[in-house]
Amino acid sequence: MLFSDIATWFSGVQAEFTLNFITSNRWRLIYNGLLVTLQITLVACLMGIVIGIIVATVRTTKDKAGHTMRKGLPRTLLVIVDWVCRLYITVIRGTPIVIQLMIMYFVIFVSSRNGVLVAILAFGLNSGAYVSEIFRGGIMSIDAGQFEAGRSLGLNYVQTMGLIIAPQVLKNVLPTLANEFIVLLKETAVAGYVAVGDLTFAANRIRGVTYSAFMPLIAVALIYLTLVMFLTWLVGKLERRLRQSDNR
């Protein structure tokens, strides 16, 4: 009796699986969606790092050196750029990512049909604001003596920042930075709002055709989970390497 119940249930699951993934090669939707999600996350992540480094550098330079600089064009320029950076952070952090994405797609790049590119831009700009604050915190946490030691040895501002401050900042911010990219990966799930065929969008399309929610949604959830776990493992490895100098 029990055995036949299990057998019925199992064949039901099997049929569901076949319907959702095998029939008409529906797994390809998920596969393509995965590629789109990875593409958006990866490029937006790089963009976020680049923007983050630039904005954080401007803001800390203004905070640390702005008042000791001589009056003149460089100082005026720094003050203006710093103001623009703060405005950028305020606007990005103050509005939902979905709204930013839709403004990008339906207002700014209204003539573009390349949704993936627009999504990359929107998520990259969004991530940049958060990453810049992470880096800024990292730079501020380094003792001023490190900077002074570098300068007292004759290194210039850029050399000191690049060789002495940056490596220590990177080590300190890595866990927070990794967290930001895990959030980013999952945030890209709203890319479907502008008709980008990402992983979540693929699940919805399958659901729309097969009228079954369980299989596609669970499958996609498992894929996100696996990606995040992989990312966590990777960062852990990197972190251990960077922590070499902490061993006593």
Binding site: R70, E148, A149, S152, L153, G154, L163, I164, S245
Partner: protein
């Protein structure tokens, strides 16, 4: 070697230095003493422009380093500095701490820098620490490394900003020994310190600073033996 003319420094409303005129001769050991907040560290940090002076002039080897046209990075290569908090680079090994600046600035190639660093480490008895990170060193070892890191640039003058104040008492001696050896070798030194014994033994000239001014200066015998100013007498009575 270093001439300071009417140097002033303010942090906002606070006047930390209120007009200092000094001349530091080659090979001279100048020791600066005084109570906390007297401006002695600020004075020292002005000498290599870690603090931007508010007014006055500083000349190093005849070049006015306070002028906007002066390339301060170039001047700092010739002025070594040792800090109270050591400020070793924690992400680099001892060897890399010593070779980073000479190689980055193209003064020595990697091999030359390594050789020079080894010689310096032998000099302070820490060659066996070449490949460890600063976190694995004691305070005294860190400060000795910080001294040779500055020496790796072959400076003409060494500035010491309370180099033993952050050390456990039993480690003060090993750092002072390195400094004494440096003095014997003829290095020009400017030392801010609370170690009166060191000031007396090594100093050619002692400056007593208070409230942003050099209140009294002279050879150590005079400052410690027969101070003229009431403020100096009062300070020495408290610390000796």
């Amino acid at each position: 070697m270093i001439t300071v003319k009417n140097l002033t420094k303010s942090f906002g409303e606070l006047e930390v230095l209120r007009g200092i005129d000094q001349h530091i001769a080659p090979n001279e050991k100048t020791v600066i003493i005084g109570p906390s907040g007297s401006g002695k560290s600020t004075f020292l940090r002005c000498l290599n422009l870690l603090e931007q002076p508010t007014g006055g002039q500083i000349l190093f080897d005849g070049v006015e380093i306070t002028s906007p046209a002066c390339d301060i990075n170039h001047v700092r290569r010739k002025m070594g500095m040792v800090f109270q908090q050591f400020n070793l680079f924690p992400h680099l090994t001892v060897m890399k701490n010593l070779t980073l600046s000479p190689t980055t600035l193209g003064l020595l190639n990697k091999e030359q820098a390594r050789e020079k660093a080894e010689q310096l480490l032998i000099r302070v008895g820490l060659l066996d620490k070449a490949n460890v990170y600063p976190a694995q060193l004691s305070g005294g070892q860190k400060q000795r490394i910080a001294i040779v890191r500055a020496l790796a640039m072959e400076p003409q003058v060494m500035l010491f900003d309370e180099p033993t104040s952050a050390l456990d008492p039993e480690m003060v001696g090993e750092v002072l020994d390195v400094m004494k050896q440096l003095a014997v070798d003829g290095m020009t030194m400017v030392v801010v310190t609370h170690e009166m014994g060191f000031a007396r033994e090594v100093g050619d000239r002692v400056l007593f600073m208070d409230e942003g001014l050099v209140v009294e200066e002279g050879p150590p015998e005079q400052i410690f033996g027969a101070p003229q100013q009431a403020r100096t007498q009062d300070f020495l009575r408290k610390v000796l």
